[in-house]
């Protein structure tokens, strides 16, 4: 502390009282607000996860690790964990591959200018729409009575593809959800990868071409190594954001149903906490704490693994 202030004095001799006041005015209220809105709830969720607490009263009973033990043997939570992992697995593969493909199409495939402009404009649209608009529209597309999908399939005489009990149930439930998650999740990553590919120096491609490398080899030996850090960003961001985005997508779509078949962990923790019929806030917070630990650890490990590959 003494050292650092000495350095500052040398660097910036006019660190006057008014400047210090200025820093406090500009920084402290924001920090306190952020602490109150984001850090305090996190600390509270950790503390209350050791209690039996309804949230609506001040009665709290200390339980130790009982909430944690119960949540890890809760069949709905375990089912939700499997669902989360399934969705994340397919999102990782499909979003990364499709975002890269679309970015390559825009930058490297020598499509016509209007085509490129059209793709860039259109493919980003699912990202700017509200999740409630997206889910309601897809609910109607999948609707068994008035839905667009069944109507189109009937018009094409492909009736045999229509599931008898509807799309958002049984064997078509998870694939439908995964499709919507991928569909609505590509835009941003495509834009990031387009920017990354455009930043690769043109000379690298020229010299690769002189060496006789075709488009495919240019992709493997020039494009991908040069945008590896952005691909890593895409994969880690999908992993990190999915616990939340799975919850916000499924809540308006199926709300975890039918019969918890599409339940995900974030939604379960939310429902158990907020639903007045259940209202086990301590239990919900134990689930949330487990989720935070999982997503921090997995992202950290994943980032580390991909970084190692980068060094080779």
């Amino acid at each position: 502390m003494k050292n650092s202030s000495a350095v500052i004095k040398r660097k910036n001799p006019k660190m006057t009282a008014s400047k210090k006041l200025f820093i406090i005015i500009f920084g402290l209220p924001t920090f306190l607000l952020y602490f109150y809105i984001s850090i305090l709830p996190m600390l509270k969720s950790i503390r209350t996860s050791f209690y039996d607490w309804s949230g609506y009263s001040s009665d709290m009973t200390f339980l130790g690790f009982d909430n944690y033990k119960e949540i890890l043997s809760d069949t709905i939570f375990l089912k939700a964990m499997v669902n989360d992992l399934t969705i994340i697995f397919w999102k990782e593969i499909l979003i990364t591959v499709l975002a890269l493909l679309f970015a390559l199409a825009v930058t490297r495939f020598k499509l016509k200018k209007p085509e490129v402009a059209f793709i860039r404009f259109l493919f980003y649209i699912p990202d700017i729409l509200s999740i409630i608009v997206i889910s309601t529209v897809w609910l109607f597309i999948f609707n068994p009575n008035v839905g667009l999908l069944n109507g189109v399939l009937q018009a094409l005489h492909l009736d045999f593809l229509i599931p008898v009990n509807g799309w958002l149930t049984g064997g078509t439930l998870m694939p439908s959800i995964i499709f919507i998650a991928v569909w609505s999740g590509i835009g941003y990553f495509m834009i990031v990868l387009i920017a990354a590919i455009n930043d690769v120096p043109k000379e690298l491609y020229e010299s690769a071409e002189i060496d006789g490398a075709g488009q495919w080899r240019q992709l493997i030996y020039v494009t991908i190594p040069n945008i590896w850090s952005q691909i890593r960003f895409v994969m880690v961001t999908i992993l990190f954001s999915s616990i939340s985005s799975n919850m916000t997508l499924i809540m308006p779509l199926t709300n975890g149903g039918p019969d918890n078949a599409s339940m995900v962990m974030g939604l379960y923790a939310y429902t158990v906490g907020v639903d007045p019929a259940v209202s086990r806030v301590g239990y919900a917070n134990a689930a949330a704490v487990i989720l935070m630990i999982i997503s921090f650890t997995v992202s950290f490990v994943f980032n580390h693994l991909l970084a190692k590959k980068d060094d080779k």
Partner: protein, 290 residues
């Protein structure tokens, strides 16, 4: 040898033409999955229930604008719009104030506290706010402040600041100190330097961050759903989910679709006008450059 090379080149260009055609077909199919739902939503919003049940994908027999009138008036979308606009304006004001001020001191004042703040906001970027919704809700429930647009405004403005602070302070740090020193010699106060010298330099990125904030607030669903229980305070997304839930009792597909179209329009207009700023800003928002 020469011939062999020429052949190989022909083979390659045929192959890539083939690949390009395949790619075009795939891109076209993917475009349809985005365009068709939107187009379907728009033209279906002019249908009546009988037409919906008769055939889900045919065009309406006439343009029933009364669906829009009924959504706007009797389904109360006008009130939801007003709430959403109040929320967007208030959040934007607070967000801009908080982000610009903190970014500035993080970028240009290297003191013990600003360094701590910097590390703090960097790690805060990783906090998944949707998992903190339950404790946050009960934190405000104790104060009896859950049914409150102003509280929601503060939550929106504050929760989203770490990444914008990270990006904006990077841009501010790149401003040449000579400009600031010159202004100081001219006798400008700290606040004048901030508002007249620093902010104009970061206008493009700040504008992008504000657009993102507007769209995010307009679209936000889960937090608003948790906090707002009073129908008079509903925002557009909550209003829509309310209409969808009501469908179990009384189905008016046309006006529900009209409501969805109206919820989309402001965002699509904003996107169409500022597409360049949004896409360019998004391209650099991974923070991996420089």
């Amino acid at each position: 040898m020469y011939r062999k090379k020429a052949n190989k080149k022909i083979g390659r260009s045929v192959g890539s033409a083939f690949a390009r055609t395949g790619l075009r077909i795939f891109l076209l199919l993917w475009s349809i999955t985005i365009l068709l739902p939107i187009v379907w939503l728009v033209y279906s919003s002019f249908k009546d229930n009988r037409e919906f049940y008769a055939s889900p994908w045919t065009l309406p027999s006439e343009l029933r604008f009364e669906n829009y009138v009924s959504a706007w008036d009797s389904a109360n979308i006008s009130a939801y719009f007003l709430n959403s606009i109040i929320l967007v304006v208030g959040t934007l004001f607070l967000f801009t104030l908080l982000v610009t001020t903190t970014s500035y001191i993080l970028a240009k004042y290297k003191t013990f506290f600003t360094k701590i703040f910097k590390v703090f906001y960097f790690f805060a970027m990783m906090i998944p706010s949707s998992l903190l919704l339950v404790p946050l809700y009960f934190q405000f429930y104790e104060l009896n402040l859950t049914n409150n647009l102003f509280v929601l405004m503060v939550i929106y403005a504050v929760q989203g600041i770490p990444l914008p602070i990270f990006l904006l302070s990077e841009f501010m740090a790149n401003i040449d100190d000579a400009f600031i020193e010159a202004a100081t010699i001219d006798g400008a106060s700290e606040f004048v330097i901030f508002s007249r010298v620093v902010l104009p330099f970061v206008k493009p990125i700040l504008f992008f961050l504000c657009l993102g904030n507007i769209m995010g607030t307009w679209n936000e669903y889960v937090t608003a759903l948790t906090f707002l229980k009073d129908e008079a305070l509903y925002t557009v997304p909550i209003g829509i989910s309310y209409l969808v839930n009501q469908m179990n009792y009384r189905v008016e597909f046309g006006s529900l679709f009209a409501a969805l179209v109206m919820a989309m329009i402001p965002i699509l207009i904003l996107y169409a006008i500022f597409q360049k700023q949004i896409l360019n800003g998004m391209g650099t928002s991974d923070g991996l450059k420089g």
